[in-house]
Amino acid sequence: MKIPLSYSFRSLWTRKLTTFLTIAGVALVSFVFTAVLMLANGVKNTMVATGSADNAIVLRKSAESETLSIITFDEADVIGTQPEIAIGNDGKPLMTKEVLTLINLKKHGAQPNDLSNVTVRGVTPDGILLRPQVKLTSGRMFNFGSSELIVGNEIADRFDGMGIGNTIKFAGRTWKIVGHFDAGRSGFASDIWGDANQILQAFNRQAYSSIVMRLKSPKDFAALKARFEADPRLNNLKIEPEKQFYAEQSQTLANFIRILGIVITVIFSFGAMVGAMITMYAAVANRTVEIGTLRALGFHRRSVLGAFLIESLFIALLGAGIGLLAASTLSLLTISTTDFASFSEIAFGFTMTGPIIISTFLFAAVMGFIGGFLPSFRAARLDIVNALRSA
């Protein structure tokens, strides 16, 4: 039979200050750990939400992002003839030929010369139809054939001069902002959209960046991919399900955040473990006689080890719970940074998930175990006679 849990729990509260400080240390580390995972997850979710399950995207082989891709007009025409592409109400293939460029804009509060890259996406009329998550929130849709733009809400909220009716200058033209759009938690919310043909002309571009198409059925993807590989005119291009493409896009940034964050957290965790160790060594030193008494009464060494480890684990898990609660409030925040794949600004939130909660508790349990093991082992190894003599 084990030493009762009440012994371990109540013993903790006899040294309230050190117990509280140790819990606070673990909570802080757990907070950082959770926040990092939530952030990496938020990046992934944002990018994955950018893609639709029914859509496929075409880019140049070896292009790692849309901004680095080139699809010639001839190639675009060939793609438009593929039978797997769904047909729109107008009887034409449901696809959008898009061009992406980067322009420099100033964030609210930034220095005048401290500019950020923002993606301008030129779309063809089906571009809106293929992205059901994109919804106009104010103003109106831009007119095709004009120098008008609509601005994603993450850009509208964070950058100067993005109000409806404002104008911005780039590529030798003045562009008028006529609407704002919401794109849920997708990456499009960090775009500015306009007419693809106007943007091609303004930038004197002779090629699209990407082509997105709605498939008749997601099952048709394999046949379409096979044709892309067999057709010599499409040999230089690659086709991917849109969701998979955006998920891959998020990997670099999400992995960077995750790895950097975890390295920092692990370094922090040494501090928390040392804190737990000091607390538990003090507990063992203060309770030497109790340990001797328990052992004299017949409790085994492993029971003493278990009782002290439970104390340490309890401190760690309580700290993890507090850290998790604090970190969960971050889901109310949205932050932005440069996406390494597109080199443009992308906004995303902190997303909490079940696996993150489990990971945080496991991480804290490891801290508690490592921090508590040596002191607990020392408690279990105490000689009974010497322990009783220290009364």
């Binding site: 409790f299 009783l388 009364a391």
Partner: protein
């Protein structure tokens, strides 16, 4: 005549301090019959607590054997010895050694957690033990809410709750005022006479020793023959 319940045979105990050997007990032999109330007396450093620790199974002799109720405990391994103590020994310490974060009830229940008794059976035993020591109304009190004499009576309840083969008491009145000491000694006398418990008690106190049936003196690691 019945076998003595405690048989100490030619026991030697040497402590090591750095490189020095310090002999504490030399070739000690002692028999304690069942139902005996034995007092061990002697000056500080005479080895009386060491002898008590050996009989209680919390220390091991360098030489010799200790047989309690037919078991040679000097041959038991660590784990078996812990089990043996839980079953056969009740401890009473000078400073009571109650667990401060547990109530009187929980302190008395501790040794029963090492048995197979159900919760209801444990409750019955704990209440009976606390009644014997006259503290049935203090079950929910924590040690710091009790006087020294009451704490020692809770410790005695803890020592008898498993109905052990022997009770070992190390200076049970050493930290008590005269009145409390008398109460505790009366209780031990009652345990011995009414419940036929075998008690081995180490004491400095001649009044405590008077309550015992028999007193043995230890001096410089050797036991007197009276």
């Amino acid at each position: 005549m019945a076998e003595p319940i405690v048989q100490v045979r030619n026991v030697t105990k040497i402590y090591k301090r750095d490189t020095m050997d310090i002999p504490v007990l030399q070739n000690i032999s002692l028999d304690v019959p069942e139902g005996e109330f034995l007092a061990l007396m002697g000056p500080s450093g005479s080895g009386k607590t060491t002898l008590l620790n050996l009989v209680a199974g919390i220390d091991r002799p360098n030489n010799g054997s200790i047989t309690i109720a037919g078991s040679d405990i000097s041959k038991l391994n660590e784990s078996d010895l812990a089990k043996w103590r839980a079953r056969h020994v009740g401890f009473v310490f000078q400073f009571y050694n109650l667990i401060p974060v547990l109530t009187a009830y929980e302190n008395v229940e501790l040794p029963l957690l090492l048995t197979h008794l159900s919760k209801a059976e444990r409750k019955q035993h704990v209440e009976a033990a606390l009644s014997v020591v006259g503290l049935a109304d203090r079950m929910k009190h924590y040690p710091k809410q009790l006087s020294g004499g009451q704490e020692q009576r809770v410790a005695i309840a803890r020592a008898i709750v498993t109905d052990p083969t022997i009770i070992v008491a190390d200076e049970p009145t050493g930290d008590l005022d005269r009145k409390s000491a008398e109460d505790v000694l009366a209780l031990m006398e009652q345990l011995n006479q009414e419940f036929k418990k075998t008690i081995v008690m180490v004491t400095h106190d001649p009044q405590a020793a008077e309550k015992a049936h028999k007193t043995r003196h230890l001096d410089k690691g050797e036991l007197s023959q009276n």
